[in-house]
Symmetry: C2
Subunit: 182 residues, 2 copies
């Protein structure tokens, strides 16, 4: 019985790879164990089970997204910052569909990263002169638009053959105008 030498980190990374390649639904403990060259019950030495795996995946995703987003708006303001954050957000989501999907049911595991992103967005919104409740409304607006677009795109929800990148850029420009005139 040659030991594989798994660690929690290796297991979660392998899970992320499966989720991104085959979809989050294809991430089963059986598939994960097979990918690691191990029998399914052996995973319970490293994980608390499927729910625990999903939480760890969500935490990993939140951390990664936070890391790519953090430097995106450095030195930019208003429209430029919004556009940059938007494009980085969309690109990361497109490159990591499984991880992005794992982010979905809001869980405590991703709370810290969520607050990091929120702070980042609020900083940009201050450039628009938005504070207090206004800033919260605006942050939710931006988040809803980004999340909605990326989600619909991932699910093939946009049927019409008009370039999605153009539409995304158009949306960010419209958001910029909407925020600027608040």
């Amino acid at each position: 019985m040659a030991r594989v030498g798994l660690t929690k980190e290796l297991v979660v990374l392998a899970a992320a790879e499966i989720a991104d390649r085959d979809g989050l639904d294809a991430l089963t403990l059986a598939a994960l164990a097979a990918a690691l060259g191990v029998k399914t019950p052996s995973l319970y030495a490293h994980l608390g089970g499927l729910d625990d795996l999903r939480l760890r995946l969500a935490a990993l995703a939140a951390a990664q997204l936070g890391d790519v987003l953090a430097p995106a708006a450095a030195g930019l303001s208003r429209g430029e910052a919004l556009r940059e954050i938007g494009h980085v957000y969309r690109q990361w989501a497109n490159e990591h569909p499984g991880l992005y999907a794992a982010l979905q049911p809001a869980s405590p595991a991703r709370e810290p990263a969520a607050e990091q992103v929120l702070a980042l967005v609020l900083a940009v919104l201050r450039g628009y002169g938005l504070e207090g409740d206004q800033a919260i409304h605006a942050a939710r607006t931006v988040r809803a638009a980004l999340h909605g677009f990326v989600t619909l795109e991932a699910q093939g929800g946009f049927g019409i053959p008009v370039d999605l990148g153009d539409s995304f850029a158009w949306m960010l420009a419209a958001l910029d105008r909407g925020l600027a005139s608040a």
Copy 2:
């Protein structure tokens, strides 16, 4: 063996009720059969299986959403029409979380209703002077914002204790300004 007298319609309606009450994930053939007072395999007389049930649910959801949305913007234009459509959309989604979720993986089953909704939105956008590709970009923007907000709301994705209705109204107003200045 008293017969229950099921029909495809009754089965799908019962499924919709379970999905809305307990969540789409809780909609299993076993749960559906139990709710109908029948054993699981009996459902196969009315359905092709779980995938088929999900498609039928998506078709039902698309039809319902189209029906409530169609008269929403009658006699209104621009900002008022957008606000009305938005509120009806959100209200329906909040009242039917299971059906709304069933709409998710874009399937051929909901195509007709999707086109109906698209035509409705495009009509409103004409009020903003948007045509051709511009109108497509704008329609995608509106859809992304609505879908994103409603989805995040359903998942408890908005943590901060600021009124969600206010945020939604703010988003619709921001969209209106963004579209008006396109």
